[in-house]
Every structure is written in C-alpha cells, then in structure tokens.
Symmetry: C3
C-alpha cells in the first residue's frame, strides 16, 4: 500500500510487504527510542491524540512516539468533555479536528467509529482502538515482537509454532494478530481456551485456508509444549455466567515458573498484550516469571513505540528525514534497555 | 489598543482598527496553518491552557495555534482537579499559574471570572469563555470568516446583509458578533427568531444607534432572502417551557438544501458556531448541505486557528518574527485545505 | 549523593551538601524561568508526568520546569483512566511507562507507592507526593524560599527563628521541611498548634538531637514574636470531632495584617504551602496581607519552578548544558517578576 497520507484503520489493509516495510522502518527507530540520538523529522507537526475512551498506555505510547520524532502533541482524554456528547456527528468532529492536526490517533468505544471518522477527516487517521473491533498498531507491535524475539533464537515467523491462551473468543489482540499471521507461511497454531471461549470459526477457517495448521484444545499444559511463542490473554470473568464457572478455567490458564519449566521449550517466548491482572484472583501470568529472560511483555510495549514511530514516519513520509535531522542526545540516559 | 501584553477579555475592547489589525496578522498565518512552513517565533514560550469547564474544540484550537507558533502548551481540563475546588480564590490561582506561563487562555463557567483572574495575573490572559458572557476569539473568527467569504464574492462587511437565526436571546456568539459589527457601516440585519427568543433590546438599540438597519421577524423563509450571510444557532430546547412548544419553532428554524435553494441568494454564506446538533430532533443545519460550496462552518473553525495565532502573536509581540524564524514543512501534508 | 540517574523519593536522601547543590543550580535557572533566555538543554527528552491523583499546581509546575529546559511532556491526570484500575501492579505500570519517558514525576494517593514504582522503573522517578507521606520538591522549594527571603535581610538559615503554625500533626509540608532543617545549625523553632495537633514527637525529638531549640505552644500571638519566618498551614476541620471544636482553634490560628503588625518583626517572612482556603470560614491567611512585601507565598510557587528545573538538570546531568544551549527569549515578557 501507499503509506503516504493513508489512514490505518484495520490489519486487513496490510499485505506482507506492507508489514515488513513497517518493521524495517521500526528497526531504524531504535537509536531514537533508546535516546542515543533525537530527531527533528516532525518538528512543527501536530498529532491530534483523540482518546474518547480511556487508555493511558496506548495514548502515552503514541504521544511519545510523536515527540520522539520531534512533533507536538495535542490531546483529548474524555468523551464527556467533547462535542460528541452534545449531539455532534462524527463527520463534524472529524472535519473540525482535522483542521488542527497533521495526523490523528483516535480511540472510540464504538465499533466502526474510527473508520467513519477517517472518511470525513482531511488528515490521516490511525485507529487506536474502536471498541472490541480493531487496534492495528497493537497487532503490528505483537508481530514485530515475535519477529525480533525469534530472530535472537535464529528462528522465523514462517514455520513457527505459536500457542494462544485464554479468552480467544473475545480477545481483540489475538484476532488481529491471527489476521496478520495469515500473511506468513506454515505456522502451527495451538489455540488453548475453554470450550466456551474458542477462537471464532471464521478466523480458524482463514488460518487453514492460508495453509497453516491449527489445533484447538482446552488443556493448557499439553498444549504448551513445542511452541516458539506463547501468547497469553486475560480470562474475562465478566463474560461468564458466574464467578464460580470462571474460577474453573482460571487455574488452568495461568502461566507461572513451574508450569513454564514443566511444559515449555527453553527458548519459548512469553507474551501478553497487557495490562495483566496481577490480583490474586486473576494472575494469568505470575510475577515469579518477572525476571525470566524469555518474558517479552515489556519488550512488547517498548516495541510499540518503535512501530508507532514507523507508522507516523511512513504516513507523513519522513522515514528518510529521521537520520538527516538527528543529533546526539545530550542528557543522561543510563542503560535502560 | 496596544496589544503587547494586553488581556483579551471582551469584544468591547476592540475598535475597528484593532479588529482589522488582528485580521491582517491572521492573513499572514495561513502558510503555517496550512503547513507550507513552520515557525519558531514562540520557541521556548509556554501557554497555560486553563480550561475549568470542558471544551475540546476551543481548547485544542488554542493549543494548536500556540504549537504552530513554536511554543509549548501546558493544560488543565478539570475544575474538580484544581485548587479552586479547595477554596482557593481566583486571585491566588492567577498569581500562581501566571508564574508558570507566558500567556494564559482561561475558560471558566462563572460570568466575570476571567476578568477577575486577569486582574491578578502577571501575564496576559485571553478569555476562552466565561459562562454565558464573553468568548471574544469566537466573535473575531466569525467576523474574519464573514470578511473572507464575502471577499471571494467581491463584497464587504460594510453594506452587507446578514440574517441571524435561532435563539438570539441566549446565544453568546450572536451577541458578541453583533457588538463587533457595530464597528462597521450600513449593515442590514434580519434577526429571525421566535418572539420569545428575540435579540436583547439593548443590542438591537446599539445596532440602530450605529446606523445599521434591523428587521426582526419570526418567519424564517421570508427573512432568508437577500442576505450575504446566514448565521444559524441552535434552538435551545431547555429554555422552553415544554418540548412541545420547542417543537413548534424547530421546524421553522432549520436550514436544509431545499429551503436554501428556495430562499437564499446563489452566494449566501452559511455559518454556524458549532457544534451543531445533528440528532434528528434538532438538526438545525441539515447534513444535505455538507457538500455545498457556501457552507462555511468548517472554514470558520479553520479560521479560528488563524485568529488565535494572530492574537498570540500580537500579545506576545512576535508578529514580525514569524516569517524570520520559518522553515519549510518537511512532512507530507496532502491537500487538506 | 550522586544525582545523575537518581530517584528523588524522600527528603531523607539529602545531606546538607545535596540541598545546597540543588539550590546553587536553582539559582542559575532564574534567567530561564524569568524568560530572559530559553534553553534547549533537554531538547528531545520526554517527561512522563504521571498524576494518579489530581494536583493542578504541582503537575503544571513540573511540566513547565521541563518545558523551560526544552523537553516534551506527556501526562496522565486520572487514576481511573489507567491500567492500575484494571488490576495492574505498580511493577508493571513502572516497567511500561519507564519505556516511554526519560524521567517520571509520579503522584499517587498511596503511601510508599512511588518508592515501589521507582524500584521497577528503568528511568529516574521524582516523588510528586505519595499521599500523606512525602513530597520532597515541596520541602526543597520551601527551604529555598526561606534561604532567599532571609538573604535579602542579610540573615541565614543557620541560627534563624521560625514559627510553624496550624495543624502540625497532619501537615506533610511542615514534617518534610523540619527534616531538611535538621541539616542546619542552631535553629529556634516555635511550634504553634492546638494541643491536639502538635508536631509528632519523633520529629520534635530529632530537632532536639540535631541541636535545635524547640518551643511548643497553643498561643499564636505570643509565639509569633521574634521569628524570621512564619510558616502557616491550614487548620483541617475534617480531623476534628466537631465543627464547633474546630471553630475554637480557627480564630487563634489566623494571620492577618493586624495580628502581623502587633506581633511580628518588620522583616518576618510569611509562608504557606498553598492552596490557602480563602473562604470566610477558614481564611487562615487573610487577603489583607496580599500586598505585603514580606508575603512570600507566590515567590514560593515561583521558586518551585526553579527547584524542579534544578532537580531535572541534576538527575539528567545537563546542568552545565543549560547555558550552552541558551538563546535570548524573543517575545514580550513584561516585568512579571
């Protein structure tokens, strides 16, 4: 696709070439995200970071990515404070807000809202999450993380084994990631979930059509073996008919040091879209794995900054100006990464 | 007036020369708002964007205007999060906040609050709306829009015909715009409103004293003819004694393609302060006019950025530094305007 | 201490040398805070201004300090909008957020939360207030103000007389200031409070151990005499068993022009951490002193910007780059200070 001026609404927009273009640009962003250098590629540009639904993590990640490229960020964090609550149409909001910014990131609770907004916008729009529907930069950062983690084990996405664990029926992240993985070859999926929370049939079907193999199981420990990557999600208690029923599944879909050691490969990468619920009741990914070298969950969020920098650079067509306008970072940055 | 260091609290501060000075500077801001160039005229300066009442549109517009001049923006969006809710006086808030910023934009629900705040502030204050009272940058952007729209038809504010439609009793924007129009000559006003919602008598009187002609009517279609500009406002149902009564007026004070074609001139400019209520019940300005070339409502909000850039430039005395510190915008900006 | 990369969690971290280092750097920040020059020492750096409890004043002060050093600011103002409310541990929040920023300021309602957060953070963290516990930059700005105010009277912190007035039991600011004053010599403390709201015994004990003299009294007027500085705090009605009981104390712990003239020295400096409650019922520091030259309360908040600029500069090790990257401020700045 032509990224220049494009809206990023759905993972369905991406061909494999497009994904790899994003990843190649993301790789070049490391010196800036790691504060070896800073760049002024977007000096003078303005991001409209429009969050009509709360999300500290995603909002700050996009904002930082834009700042790291040298641009300004203007934000909204509250739908009640907006004209939308006074009966304004998404069309009007888009026409107005797009007069203020060079690019807009929008999160909105309503499925399809960001696509509708983008149609009326005069500047490119990135979907930062439209309810349970799409959140394409999350899927891209997940896949980018898999690629980087596997590369350090001399493995590739093509031909890998991946387990997805938890509530695969409602989980937006595993749906979108599966869509992107269709673009690759010979992947072996193990989908571990309660029977009631299986991956939707159309997604499983598409994976098969794309030549991948899929195994579905509700037995976590047997499913964990032989995988390069385990992608955990939360068991969403509110979807169950009772807390008691949810409790049945919870124990079986929790990963901790003992279960990992007993079932996983020495190099199995552990992922989670975060936030993980660390309260005792939930605890789908135990803190006893926090120091484990294969725990990639914080590298995922770090990679989110790289991927978002790449998207901004491609959409605003400054990928080749980033280095030209770079300077050495002059402040103390420690050894954080 | 001497703009340097001045507070902008009320449209009453402005003589015709002052208005035209703002507009002349606003004209010079186009290359920056349109992202042909960016400027560092206010690099290092800080705007305190203090919104003690929600207003996404106005807040973001002021913030973008300041960013476009190269400055930083610090914001507050919630009165409950502020010391005002702990019994702090406006005097104290102003003394403190004015130690942080180079200029302050303040919105506050209470009539007169911004003027009181400005008295204690050590830096210039712009009124971003003090309840139902004043919102001078809105009146300036409305008038600036009229001037530009008429100019493209070889017409001028002096001698023009304008219709104001809707709730003229409570509408802050039509009051303030009328105040500014007193500074011009030979304007013909058609004030279209329900009898119960007529323009306040003192404003009508002042328009007459200034040599303008004023016709008041409650019949929309007959009033629309012969006007260069139609300025619509919302029918504010909550002011009526019953929904039923409001419904009587609603139908008559709605502009759509059919009514426009039947009654207006080919060049009649359509304006609205926004947000417009696009829910079926209200719909004072129909979406079937969205593609109409004379629909100026989104040019109004675009002009708001220019006018606000002009105000900041004049108050902080950098109007002649904007071009000196300008560079070409290096990112993709499409053809948005 | 080695400021480079350090967390600033508690006043207990500071030796006298450290305090004086902060103050020396704060002095060099005046030309920037006063807008004679602006600096790009932190150009490209990002502050994560994470306020999980509202505080307009402290949040904006830190944000402005970072902007004045040339850096970007990303913010959060709402705990409900954050992943913490979804069961995320402080450990996870810290790991994630510290991937976005170069330094973090955190306010959080829970005692000890910021220290816990800092342990997991990959970048330096400044405590912006952890509930009733610590708020070290406030104590530093208070002491910095005392130093500067006394210096203009040729007096020093060593050997000074200070009165602290009000609710000394619960007041976080007077506790922290007392901790810092232990580092100095021969101070005479007059602690004026209701018997029920005396300074905690361990703090009084430490002041004695450090060689200071302490007098405790519940008679305000007799206690006010002979002091170089009077530090007022709010009487916090909600701590009393009844409004009636609170009212007994309120009258005795209110400073106004008449009480000041009757009891204080001509040069006695008046301080208050702000916000002061100016409602009639409270009014612990009367507005009739607003024009008094010794009223230092707004110089306190101005000094807060200097002290916070100093902390950022020291932690990120750019104190010696501030002047190197400075330019003359080109906009109108009036004579605000």
């Amino acid at each position: 696709m032509d990224f220049r001026g494009a809206h990023i609404i759905s993972v369905n927009q991406f061909a494999r070439d497009d994904v790899e273009r994003v990843f190649a640009v993301a790789d070049t962003m490391e010196p800036y995200a790691h504060r070896e250098h800073f760049t002024k590629a977007l000096e003078g540009a303005i991001l409209g970071n429009m969050f009509f639904e709360p999300s500290t993590r995603t909002r700050v990640s996009f904002g930082c990515a834009f700042n790291l490229l040298g641009g300004h960020v203007r934000e909204t964090t509250d739908v009640k404070a907006s004209s939308i609550s006074k009966g304004e149409s998404l069309y009007d909001t888009a026409r107005v807000i797009s007069g203020y910014s060079d690019v807009i990131v929008m999160r909105h609770p309503q499925v399809g809202s960001v696509a509708e907004f983008a149609k009326a916008s005069r500047v490119p729009v990135i979907n930062g999450g439209d309810g349970p529907n799409e959140h394409p930069s999350q899927a891209l950062l997940d896949l980018y993380t898999i690629k980087k983690e596997l590369a350090s084990n001399d493995t590739k996405i093509d031909g890998m084994n991946i387990a997805m664990v938890g509530d695969l029926k409602h989980g937006r992240t595993v749906h979108s990631l599966s869509q992107l993985l269709q673009l690759y070859n010979d992947i072996h999926f193990t989908l571990i979930s309660p029977k009631e929370l299986k991956m939707p049939k159309d997604i499983v079907g598409k994976l098969g059509d794309a030549g991948h193999t899929v195994i579905e199981t509700d037995d976590m420990e047997s499913g964990l073996g032989d995988n390069n990557t385990v992608y955990l999600t939360r068991i969403q208690e509110e979807r169950f008919t009772s807390k008691l029923e949810a409790d049945i599944y919870r124990g079986r879909f929790r990963l901790n040091q003992a279960i990992y050691t007993r079932n996983c490969q020495p190099n199995t990468v552990i992922m989670h879209p975060l936030p993980r619920d660390s309260r005792k009741d939930a605890n789908e990914l135990d803190n006893d794995l926090n120091q484990h070298p294969n725990l990639a969950i914080f590298r995922q969020t770090d990679n989110g900054v790289l991927v978002r920098m790449a998207l901004f650079s491609l959409i605003l067509d400054v990928a080749d100006k980033v280095e030209q306008t770079a300077s050495k970072a002059g402040w103390y940055t420690g050894s954080r990464f």
